[in-house]
């Protein structure tokens, strides 16, 4: 007979100025009631810049995923967790009556589903907010952070970044209102403190001083950790130990990164506290995102793998040319090969993250089972700025609401916003329409 009171789902280890959310523990659910207490579904947009080398992304078959094309090879171990979606189109990314500026338009309309007003000085999308913020507005009160915006470069929010489109369009995915984007957090330390502390408003100098003084964040929650451990069974104690070890590891990475002065871009300073190495930087940020999702600190997140139109070089893999100039390869095979290499490199990093969340137990399954990760770009071919057939993977099982392991090809011009509607449904936010949606996507849950 089970009489012990369950640990609340929203439990924290607390210390001075520090609050660490806990992952899903067995103690949070009385035995025999897992089915009734399903873990929440989480949604993440993992955004790729500058389109994709599509021939190396697109399988030549439909239905069950078997061998994946070159770029997606790193994800092969997780092909049963992937839905590849074909022919989704973002019409508002197109020039329509506004001329050049596909990068600015495509990025700003990606989650807003709306026309973007062309301006280098004022930001305005003709829609109420991005779909992630619509979700955050509806269910964000159930988590400490309504949403989490993360990015890897370029804090600029003003000035022209693309043919008369403001940098605010190319450097943000989330929009809280038609005029207010939510800039992503670029600084790992700032992200860490957003998740666990109350010091996010400190200047970099103050933050460094504070970090030197305090040592590890775990020191501040030692007492409450000990107290909690006494109430946990051996399985939960192991889970908690692994979780706190991960947090400490991130702290150490942040400390190392703070000393890294290597430049990543000839014209732009790298974000404060970020390592120069892409993979290391990505790993650090996704580790924190994992903890945020694992601890149910938020259920909605956007992650910009560099900004749209980025000219970042990838010297880590021997590419010193900027990404954006390379995508305008004009058919030059040597340049195209480098684009493919960058696409592969991103996919490899992403696969590493998927691997980590696939190995985190949650409920009677894995964290990945309760995730919906959209891994994709707002452009198809970056060379010609194609806005149809956007490269789109939906990774995870959406809490059992998705049947992955397949490639589905929809009719041409199917609005990308139809995917938004389908995702919002699964997040418990049902709306009649969003952006230029015409319907929900069919076939996501059935083979």
């Amino acid at each position: 007979m089970i009489t012990k009171k369950a640990l609340p789902r929203r439990s924290f280890l607390r210390g001075m100025g520090v609050s660490i959310g806990l992952p899903f523990l067995d103690a949070m659910v009385p035995a025999l009631s897992w089915a009734a207490k399903k873990p929440p579904v989480r949604l993440v947009f993992m955004y790729l810049p500058n389109g994709i080398d599509m021939p190396n992304w697109t399988p030549d078959y439909e239905g069950p995923l078997t061998t994946l094309p070159r770029i997606l090879k790193p994800l092969e171990p997780y092909r049963d967790d992937i839905l590849m979606l074909g022919n989704l189109t973002h019409n508002y990314g197109r020039g329509l009556l506004d001329g050049a500026g596909d990068h600015g338009r495509s990025c700003a309309s990606y989650l807003t589903g709306a026309h973007v007003r062309k301006s280098a000085t004022e930001l305005h999308v003709d829609g109420p907010m991005s779909m992630d913020q619509l979700i955050a507005g509806k269910i964000g009160n159930q988590t400490p952070l309504p949403s989490l915006e993360i990015g890897m470069e370029d804090p600029r929010q003003t000035g022209s970044c693309d043919s008369g489109y403001s940098c605010g369009y190319t450097n943000n995915l989330a929009w809280k209102s038609e005029t207010q984007p939510l800039p992503p957090i670029l600084n790992p330390r700032m992200l860490f403190e957003r998740l666990f502390g109350a010091n996010a408003d400190l200047t970099p100098e103050e933050r460094r001083r504070e970090a030197r003084i305090r040592g590890s964040i775990l020191d501040f929650v030692r007492d409450s950790t000990k107290q909690l451990e006494g109430d946990l069974g051996p399985t939960d104690r192991r889970k908690l130990d692994e979780y706190l070890t991960d947090i400490r590891s991130i702290e150490q990475q942040i400390e190392r990164a703070a000393k890294d002065e290597t430049p990543v871009h000839p014209d732009l300073p790298k974000p404060a506290g970020a390592p120069a190495d892409f993979a290391e930087h990505y790993r650090m940020l996704t580790d924190m995102l994992t903890i945020a999702l694992q601890a149910d600190l938020t259920r909605v997140s956007t992650f910009m793998i560099t900004r749209e139109g980025t000219s970042r070089a990838y010297r880590e893999i021997g590419i010193s040319d900027g990404h954006h100039p390379l995508t305008h390869h004009g058919g030059k095979l040597d340049q195209l090969a480098k684009v493919t290499q960058i696409n592969e490199y991103h996919a490899k990093s992403f696969a590493g993250w998927v691997s980590r969340i696939a190995n985190i137990p949650e409920g009677d399954g894995r964290l990945l089972d309760n995730m919906m990760i959209v891994y994709g770009a707002s452009l198809n071919d970056g060379n010609r700025h194609v806005h149809s057939d956007l490269p789109t993977l939906l990774v995870g099982r959406g809490g059992g609401t998705l049947k992955p392991g397949r490639r589905i090809v929809y009719r041409q011009e199917t609005p990308f916003c139809n995917l938004h509607l389908s995702l919002m449904d699964r997040m418990g936010v049902e709306v009649e329409s969003f952006g230029d949606s015409s319907d929900r996507l069919s076939g996501l849950e059935t083979a």
Binding site: L97, D98, H115, H324, Q412, S438
Partner: protein, 373 residues
Amino acid sequence: MQDQTKPQVQAPDGGRGGRGGQAPANIPAPAGGRRGGAQAPGILFDSDMGRSIDTALALGMLYSLGPKGQLIAVSVSNSSLEAAAFCDAVSRVYLGSPAAGGLGRSGLPVGLAENGPKLGAAPMLNAPLEMKKPDGSVMFPQGIKDVRDTADPRVLYHNALLTQKDGEAIAILAGPATDLVGMLALKSHREVVAAKVGLLVAALGAYPSGTADPRVTADIKAARQLFAEWPGPIVAVGAEVGVAFPYAAGSIEADFSWAPVHPVVEAYRALQPRIHEATGQAMAAVLYAANQKEGYFKLSEPGTVEVLGDGRTRFVPSANGKHRYLIAESAQKERVLKAYTELASTKPSPPAGRGFRPQQVNQAADPAKAGGR
């Protein structure tokens, strides 16, 4: 008698849906000065392709309008892949393959109603589509093998209309109203229609009254809804106009002599010897849409088209009605038929470098078109 003094049809709200109408807040306003020169009015063409040679000829006319009109979207309201494939094949004759920037001039795919009325045997479609060259390859290439190679007409029209300035687009309907009404059912799409479409020309019904038109009986509910809810003005083209001004289809081979082979000619041949003249209801709609002030037809007084339960249409005059219908005057017959012949069989010229032309997927890379920043 020409009637060039008749005012253009005006919506009762003062022409909100016409030229100069303001787009609602979520519709992009035209960006002034970003495009040089006048733009030919964009035309949507929604037809029951496959039922008559009239619609095939009308489609040919639409590719030959020059500055008077630019076809921006083509869709078929029959649930027939062959009908969509035929439209695609015709498009490639006039505009070249997608790799050359063709396919519907707008660069958009062909629309196909998934749940539209069924089309029975259609030799005028199958004959050209199955025709082979001596080496065994298809005579008229087309890219539609599966419904996924087509677009939902509602989405297609929405996307095409957004390339147009407010009130400047024209919609031509020569089939059941199913697709257009489906578009009105989506709020955001309805707003786009209201803002962008200045005129709907509907080859549908008989006026001021007459027998039931198959295009109406195919979906009576949609026809009724179209005339009741379409946000802008409508000019209806009745079956009687098509009968009054028939295209002399017998001359089609001479008219198209510039082309060794042509899908419209092959479509016509497949229908022989059953037809000698093609009633020109759809052709009249195209001719009027692109030449509203040329006096080819007389316009009725304003009023409202009503759709009766048995599929017949009835025109009820009223001073503030949003509808009119075309009147065929015998004095114009020769002029109209000449225009049909010239437009339907015009030799295509290289596509002009204007307008909305998104690149097609998997084309050969073209550095000249790379829109770098």
